[in-house]
């Protein structure tokens, strides 16, 4: 199975085979509407395979994602504002990251994505950057499936700490408290790791091994 996947991948790298399943054609339609041809099967490395599989239970997925995407999103804005002008590469990086955390909230809710496209609220979004599938036998970016529980636990710890320092900062007007709050917010990204664990899917949902 893994060998078949690798073969498909190699073929894909040469010719850019497109997805053919129903869902994929829907996503293609969507991405065309957004203005990107991103749903072509073009994975730079076997580690970062791009596709858009549905999670086992989208509703729970979405609500959990919203919870821990918010701090990530806020951190991005903060850091982007601070470091925007320092380096070009960092700005690029932050923008990609910002896209990810924004798109991450809705990325599997295809209907709402369609709605957003129709409303005109979503422009040029890179749907590709948000989606990573975990294929058994093929390493993902981390080399392991991150623990969802650990992600949520640490995200909560840092969120509580952040809230505490923020309140203290406002009460005592000490900027050390605000620094600690920003740091804690940044560390909330630990929770982002659980993002990947939610996307664990069966290999056959990729329709690779025909």
């Amino acid at each position: 199975m893994v060998a078949a996947y690798q073969r498909t991948l190699q073929a894909a790298e040469r010719t850019e085979i497109e997805f053919t399943t129903d869902r994929c054609s829907m996503i293609q339609q969507l991405t065309r509407a957004i203005g990107l041809q991103c749903m072509r099967l073009r994975a730079p490395t076997p580690k970062a395979l791009c596709c858009a599989p549905l999670p086992p239970n989208p509703q729970i997925y979405l609500s959990v994602t919203c919870l821990y995407k918010l701090p990530t999103y806020l951190t991005c804005i903060t850091l982007l504002t601070i470091f925007r002008l320092t380096t070009t590469s960092f700005s690029q990086l932050s923008l990609v990251f910002l896209y990810r955390s924004y798109i991450g909230i809705q990325q599997y809710d295809i209907d709402s994505l369609f709605k957003m496209v129709n409303n005109g609220t979503l422009h040029g979004a890179d749907v590709r950057t948000g989606c990573y599938a975990i294929i058994p036998g093929v390493q993902n970016n981390y080399g392991y499936v991150p623990s969802l529980a650990a992600g949520i636990v640490f995200c909560t710890i840092f969120a509580i700490s952040m809230a505490g320092h923020f309140v203290q900062g406002v009460r005592k007007i000490r900027w050390t408290s605000f620094l600690l709050a920003i740091g804690a917010l940044g560390s909330c990204v630990t929770g982002e790791r659980s993002h990947s664990s939610l996307m664990r899917i069966e290999a056959n949902s990729l329709h690779f091994q025909s």
Binding site: Q92, L93, G143, I182, S187, V189, T190
Partner: protein, 199 residues
């Protein structure tokens, strides 16, 4: 990309340690330290900024290279250099901290100050441990042993950083440390003199 944010966040914690130490030196007198409180801020914050920019540039390069499927090694090497620089900064800070603790040993502190020193030492130790872990992790590359095992990440990064920031939640320097009257007075004075001179 999460990795970049996870690298940046702890520098805020270490910046807090520099500020607190500067504050303590102002409270306890200039003789308690080798260098002046402001020197801490300048030396270490600029050190942090340099390492941060190096890591961001390296991380950005590696990330873009990975995106386009090319070699990530140059970017990763720059990132490792940034992390090593950060560790060197922390080592230097630990040296000054030990010196401070040695000099202030005979002094009698209030309970609040003693607690804040304890909190700062715990936090700096945590940041130091994490920095060692990060250096070891990334010098093994993106597919090394440490980076591909979640347990190490959770114990030596997530949990350690939770301690580094959580200790200030429990022992809050914003509550325990009296505002440094000396510095505010002197800054107000200098402002007045400046204004006077200007007019």
């Amino acid at each position: 990309m999460q990795i970049t944010t996870l690298i940046i966040a702890p520098t805020f914690f270490s910046a807090v340690a520099y500020i607190i130490l500067g504050h303590l030196i102002r409270l306890l007198g200039r003789s308690s330290s080798l260098i002046s409180p402001m020197a801490y801020l300048y030396v270490f914050c600029s050190g942090d900024l340099v390492s941060l920019i190096t890591q961001a540039v390296g991380g950005g390069k590696a990330s873009i290279a990975q995106h386009s499927g090319s070699n990530t090694k140059p970017g990763t090497d720059i990132m490792v250099a940034g992390i090593v620089f950060q560790m060197a900064t922390i080592v230097l800070f630990v040296f000054f901290l030990v010196d401070f603790l040695h000099r202030t040993r005979p002094m009698a502190f209030s309970k609040g100050v003693r607690l804040v020193i304890l909190a700062m030492v715990i936090s700096v130790t945590a940041i130091f441990i994490r920095s060692i872990y990060r250096t070891a992790e990334l010098s093994q590359g993106w597919t090394g042993y440490l980076i591909t095992h979640e347990g190490y990440f959770l114990a030596l990064d997530a949990a350690i950083m939770a301690i580094a920031v959580g200790v200030y939640n429990i022992i809050d320097p914003a509550v325990l440390l009296p505002p440094s009257t000396m510095s505010t007075e002197s800054s107000v004075n200098s402002k007045f003199t400046y204004n006077g001179a200007g007019h």
